[in-house]
């Protein structure tokens, strides 16, 4: 078969499957973001209100603006943190040998743990009376003994980010190890023969080779960080105050606790728009020569 046809044929099943599934729900959610749909009053959307929901978000709702800032902080911390953590793990474990291979077996587990169990457990781990994290940290750093981990804004955000990193870092490292191990060993040998130090060869050989995978890991993690919901819900409930109330959490509150689905959709689409902008910027930065397609 000719490539001319084949290239579309190969793509078709995936594209059809995805678009056929999401077109209705996304379209529906998109439309109701311009509508008044208060579940407490009506089981169907009622009136078109045009941009009212968006106007309300940006000009009449401090909690929404707060959630915008919280989301950006969280995304910066967790996407950057998880990718770095993953890279660190990958560099440590991307070696041949039985020991390394066994160590790598562990990497699937944090990702495989259900976020519900992880969130609940980590919250208990931080309990000052019987929490294992609290106990370990207190004995390592006695000056932190009286910190109420989820009771102060800075620490609560830190733990939210760490919890998310623990879940994602090892999985991202699997992606990166895949990339690292497929770097031909003669390329590395050649660099070594040329007298490059480990550090130098990391920058000149390893990193450029790894770039496509690294970039994709970063894009994917950014998307998931923007959409993260479980850990806020399970660890902090958005608190203390509203210091960890992210946009997804706030949209959830508006939809299912204030019964305002139109407004919740508007918030969700602001988030989606933000993601479009951020990913477009990534595209420009990470794939400078347009390799991404």
């Amino acid at each position: 078969m000719r490539d001319r046809h084949l290239k579309y044929l190969l793509m078709m099943p995936a594209l059809l499957l995805v678009t056929a599934t999401v077109i209705y729900p996304l379209g529906y959610a998109g439309i109701i973001s311009f509508m008044d749909w208060r579940l407490s009053r009506s089981r169907v959307p009622t009136d078109f209100v045009f941009l009212d929901n968006f106007w309300r978000a940006f000009f009449d709702d401090p909690s929404f603006l707060n959630s915008l800032g919280v989301t950006i902080t969280f995304v910066a911390g967790s996407a950057g943190g998880a990718v770095l953590f993953g890279l660190l793990i990958a560099l440590l474990l991307a070696r041949r040998g039985r020991g390394y291979s066994i160590a790598r077996t562990v990497l699937v587990l944090p990702f495989a743990m259900s976020p519900a169990l992880q969130g609940t457990s980590f919250r208990f781990f931080l309990n000052p009376e019987f929490g294992i994290f609290d106990a370990v940290l207190d004995s390592l750093f006695p000056f932190l003994a009286h910190v109420d981990w989820l009771g102060s804004s800075g620490w609560a955000m830190t733990w939210l980010i760490l919890t998310d990193m623990w879940h994602w870092g090892p999985f991202l490292s699997l992606m990166l190890i895949g990339g690292l191990l497929s770097i031909p060993s003669d390329t590395l040998e050649a660099a070594r023969v040329d007298g490059a130090s480990t550090w130098m060869s990391f920058w000149t050989v390893v990193l450029p080779q790894l770039m496509p995978v690294l970039a994709i890991a970063f894009v994917l993690k950014t998307i998931f960080s923007f959409k993260m919901f479980d850990y806020v819900y399970l660890l902090t409930g958005g608190g203390p105050g509203e210091s960890t109330s992210t946009m997804t959490y706030y949209a959830f509150r508006m939809g299912f606790s204030a019964y305002d689905m139109g407004y919740a959709s508007a918030i969700a689409f602001v988030l989606a728009l933000l993601l479009v902008v951020v990913s477009a910027v990534y595209f420009r930065l990470l794939f400078p020569r347009g390799e991404a397609g």
């Binding site: 078969m1 490539d3 290239k7 190969l10 793509m11 995936a14 499957l17 678009t19 599934t21 999401v22 209705y24 729900p25 996304l26 529906y28 959610a29 440590l92 041949r96 291979s101 077996t105 562990v106 990497l107 699937v108 587990l109 944090p110 990702f111 495989a112 259900s114 519900a116 169990l117 992880q118 609940t120 457990s121 208990f124 019987f130 294992i132 999985f171 992606m175 895949g178 990339g179 191990l181 497929s182 770097i183 031909p184 790894l210 496509p212 995978v213 970039a215 894009v219 994917l220 998307i223 959409k227 949209a251 919740a264 969700a268 988030l271 479009v276 990913s279 477009a280 390799e291 397609g293």
Partner: protein, 277 residues
């Protein structure tokens, strides 16, 4: 203080060893503690004691009324299994096409596929519910596999494209000059080299659909209920039944050990093949 290259090698080796040990402790510590929680008697669950009478009481409880973890296991396995079996080949084909061919609107398409995942599930779950109701797909394996596919495919395509991009295109060109067809090239040259990527994408698809909660909560009710929904029933009005969650979590995690061991072997195998060529 200058170290001889050899001594430096030793120091580096030790540092690496320590770093790996710390890493394993960080990753395995919480899992081990959750496992311990699952075998503690209730009186020791909310303590830090390491001396307790291990019990299987929690494991017994989760298989009984009203949780029935055993019944839900099959649903979870089937839904995640089918998602992987369908998702990975479909994603691989699309990823290869995106990676290797030039076409109009490719960038837009590629970006668009991912952009379908930009809206948080919280606001699309009700539209999904209405759609599935119309199509009579509520509470069915088909429906759950379908929705999971639509979520994992975009990400899997991206991951796989990343891996395929790292493979030098020259190998394929050489083979094609020798008269191999494109499909053959994909099967014999690309696939073996991308095996690590295929497994990473497979793991992603499996685990992501395995852990999906919100869709499963709203779109199933009896026949197709999955484990995460059961896990959440331990959030009772009378507080979180952590010991039961831990037992279920441990139970869920066990097959993952097996899977990841299996994956590891192929991981290295495939990667070695790649670099030896």
């Amino acid at each position: 203080m200058a170290l001889s290259p050899r001594r430096r090698g030793h120091v580096l080796f030790c540092l690496r060893g320590i770093a790996i040990a710390v890493l394993l402790a960080v990753l395995l510590g919480p899992i081990a503690w959750i496992f311990l929680t699952s075998i503690k008697p209730l009186s020791d669950v909310y303590t830090m004691t390491l001396f307790f009478d291990p019990t299987l009481e929690n494991f017994r409880a989760i298989f009984e009324r009203p949780f029935y973890v055993g019944d839900r296991l099959l649903n979870s396995l089937a839904i995640s299994g089918f998602t992987v079996l369908i998702g990975v080949p479909v994603a691989l084909a699309a990823a290869y096409s995106f990676s290797r061919f030039a076409m109009r609107f490719k960038k837009t398409l590629f970006f668009g596929v991912l952009a379908t995942q930009f809206v948080p599930p919280i606001v699309v779950v009700l539209p999904f519910f209405l759609m599935f109701r119309q199509l009579h797909l509520l509470d069915t394996w088909t429906g759950m596999v379908w929705i999971n596919l639509s979520i994992v495919l975009p990400f899997a395509i991206w991951m796989l494209k990343g891996f395929i991009d790292t493979i030098p295109v020259e190998m394929e060109e050489a083979a094609m000059t020798d008269g191999a067809t494109r499909l053959r090239v994909i099967r014999d040259i690309v696939l073996p080299v991308t095996i690590p990527g295929v497994f990473v994408a497979g793991i992603f698809c499996f685990i992501f659909s395995w852990n999906d909660f919100l869709y499963a909560l709203i779109l199933t009710k009896k026949e197709a209920v999955t484990l995460p929904v059961v896990l959440s029933t331990f959030y009772t009005e009378e507080g979180d039944r952590w010991e039961l969650m831990a037992a279920t979590g441990t139970f869920i995690l066990l097959p993952m050990f097996a899977i990841s061991y299996f994956v590891q072997r192929h991981f290295v195998h495939g990667a070695t093949q790649g670099s030896d060529r």
